[in-house]
């Protein structure tokens, strides 16, 4: 009797969360699949037409989609690798406990607090033809003509990647720093007594015992990379000449600039598939921890 009563109350307690989940997450995800088979003009759902798999067929032929796929993968790969390596080095520096580490930590963490949109605005100005970077390069007579960091097809994406790394380095650093606090001191001491060099201790003792932190940090960076939108939108909007599109900016362009919501839904499905793969890995990690 008592059990059934608490069960009912339990259900009622969780009901609001379940309703939100169904209305604004589950239904949207399911309708994305439905929308990907349709086509319509404008925002009026009354004009919706079934389009079969034509959207999917178009996607396979779409050069810009494949550019966005390549760019998203490059974005994920570069940011994840750089953030983890530099984050680890940063963590080792603050862990050394030398003077100035408090300031160093705050300096690196500061950009994490800012909206990506703000970072984008800052860096666009800095790297502009008239910005400080080109000013300095000119003053040092390294270049004669300004480098168009965001206007050159070959480097625009990497410029955005650089700004992203600058923003989130402090975040990864703190995750690694927290991880370093959990490395058993006895292990390091034992290795030192055995005459292991500093480098050997880093490689053979500290890094292996950080493996759970490495896994979760890399996963978080990858998830963040797959859904990146803000900073690309504000720095390049996918340009020049569509060369720096990622999934989310291309989807936005198709759906809200060209009014092609059916086609954009196919791109949404690609994002969902990637996210779902990451979700499975993440749930595994959560369960391992429990």
């Amino acid at each position: 009797m008592v059990l059934r009563r608490t069960a009912r109350i339990g259900f009622l307690f969780s009901l609001p969360a379940i309703v939100f989940f169904i209305l604004f997450l589950l239904i949207p995800v399911l309708s994305t699949f439905f929308l990907s088979f349709t086509e319509w003009k404008g925002f009026d759902l009354a004009n919706i037409k079934f389009a079969g798999v034509s959207n999917f067929a178009e996607l396979i032929e779409d050069k810009i989609f494949f550019i966005s796929l390549k760019n998203t993968l490059l974005f994920v790969a570069f940011t994840t690798v750089a953030l983890n390596i530099l984050g680890y080095i940063g963590a080792a520096i603050i862990d050394s406990g030398r003077r100035g580490t408090g300031f160093f930590k705050n300096a690196l963490f500061l950009p994490v607090l800012l909206a990506p949109i703000i970072i984008g605005i800052m860096w666009s100005r800095m790297l502009d033809a008239f910005g400080i970077v080109n000013q300095l390069l000119k003053a040092m007579e390294i270049i004669k003509m300004p480098i168009l960091f965001l206007g050159d097809q070959r480097i625009a994406l990497y410029t955005v990647i650089g700004a992203t790394i600058w923003q989130y380095l402090g975040y990864d650093m703190l995750l690694y720093y927290a991880g370093l606090q959990g490395v058993p001191y006895e292990l390091v001491e034992a290795a030192t007594i055995d005459g292991a060099s500093k480098w050997t201790i880093q490689l053979k003792v500290i890094i292996p015992s950080l493996s759970p932190v490495i896994a979760i940090t890399m996963l978080l960076n990858m998830i963040g990379g797959f859904k990146v939108f803000d900073i690309v939108y504000v720095m390049t909007a996918g340009g020049p000449n569509n060369s720096s599109h990622v999934f989310a900016t291309y989807l936005f362009q198709q759906a809200f600039r060209f009014n092609r919501m059916g086609y954009a839904s196919v791109i949404a499905i690609v994002i969902i598939v990637f996210s779902f793969l990451a979700a499975i890995i993440r749930l595994k990690l959560v369960r391992q921890e429990e």
Binding site: F13, S14, S31, G100, L175, K227, F276
Partner: protein, 261 residues
């Protein structure tokens, strides 16, 4: 050395501050140090960007959504940890999976749903979306915390005839201030800086949040650099202030998403 490395890292921000204090003439001629300080740029930027309104909008949307997330997620987490029922595990993992849905993947149906509910171009639309996206991680954090509360405490309350609602309100929640702080900071940052959903669900300039308002003005016409720079600084001051006041809580709150999986 370490001080120097930290300072070099902040060069972009120092440059923006320097930019924000320059006269129109000096914007492109000076590299780093300005001769004159033009503090009035801040007043002009405040007016041009209409920060009164932007901050008010961002505050309303962020605060309302954070409060509702706190209530709804802690209730659900209590059910998923201490009032389990058949199917509660299923719902818990379903909601967790929701954490993995990036806003970009569902903006189209969300936009259509809000249009059909008549909520498009209202603050409510954005608040509802922020709650939905904020719940999963909040439920996870609260559930982890509630599981660490000794079961005897809850048993004892039950035997004393305390109702479940009473136990949740009078015993569980007062013990959980740490979790409340973590969830508050995490969702506050998330919503305060959010851009994509705000860009899509709001049309009226009078409803814009800080990020959308900034992006809109900066992109719209070639705004004078010194004003853009002042705007960047103004929009960042609130979050810096809060961070400096409660640094440790902040770091804990922001890294919670990682530690908790």
């Amino acid at each position: 050395m370490i001080y120097l490395a930290g300072a070099v890292y902040l060069v972009p921000i120092i440059w923006v501050i320097s930019l924000s204090l320059r006269s129109k003439k000096d914007v492109f001629s000076t590299i780093f140090f300005t001769r004159e300080l033009h503090l009035e740029n801040y007043f002009i930027a405040w007016k041009t960007f209409n920060f009164n309104l932007l901050f008010l909008n961002s505050c309303i949307i962020t605060c309302v959504s954070v409060v509702i997330v706190l209530v709804v997620s802690s209730m659900a987490a209590y059910a998923f940890s201490r009032l389990k029922y058949r199917g509660s595990e299923f719902f818990f993992y379903a909601i967790l999976l929701g954490m993995m849905v990036p806003p970009a993947a569902v903006v189209i149906p969300l936009f259509l749903i809000m249009k059909n509910l008549g909520l498009y171009n209202t603050h409510s639309a954005l608040i509802l979306a922020y709650i939905a996206f904020g719940l999963p991680i909040a439920v996870l954090i609260f559930r982890g915390f509630f599981l660490s509360v000794p079961a005897e405490l809850i048993e004892a309350a039950r035997i004393d005839g305390s109702s479940e609602v009473n136990t949740y309100l009078k015993i569980i929640m007062p013990l959980s201030t740490a979790a409340v702080a973590t969830v508050t900071i995490f969702s506050f940052m998330q919503n305060w800086n959010e851009f994509l959903l705000a860009l899509i669900l709001l049309k009226d300039k009078l409803l814009y949040t800080v990020p959308v308002g900034m992006a809109n003005l900066v992109g719209q016409w070639d705004s004078p650099w010194q004003l853009v720079a002042a705007g960047v600084i103004i929009s960042s001051v609130p979050i810096f202030t809060v961070y400096l006041l409660i640094q440790d809580l902040f770091i804990k709150g922001l890294t919670a998403g990682a530690v908790k999986g």
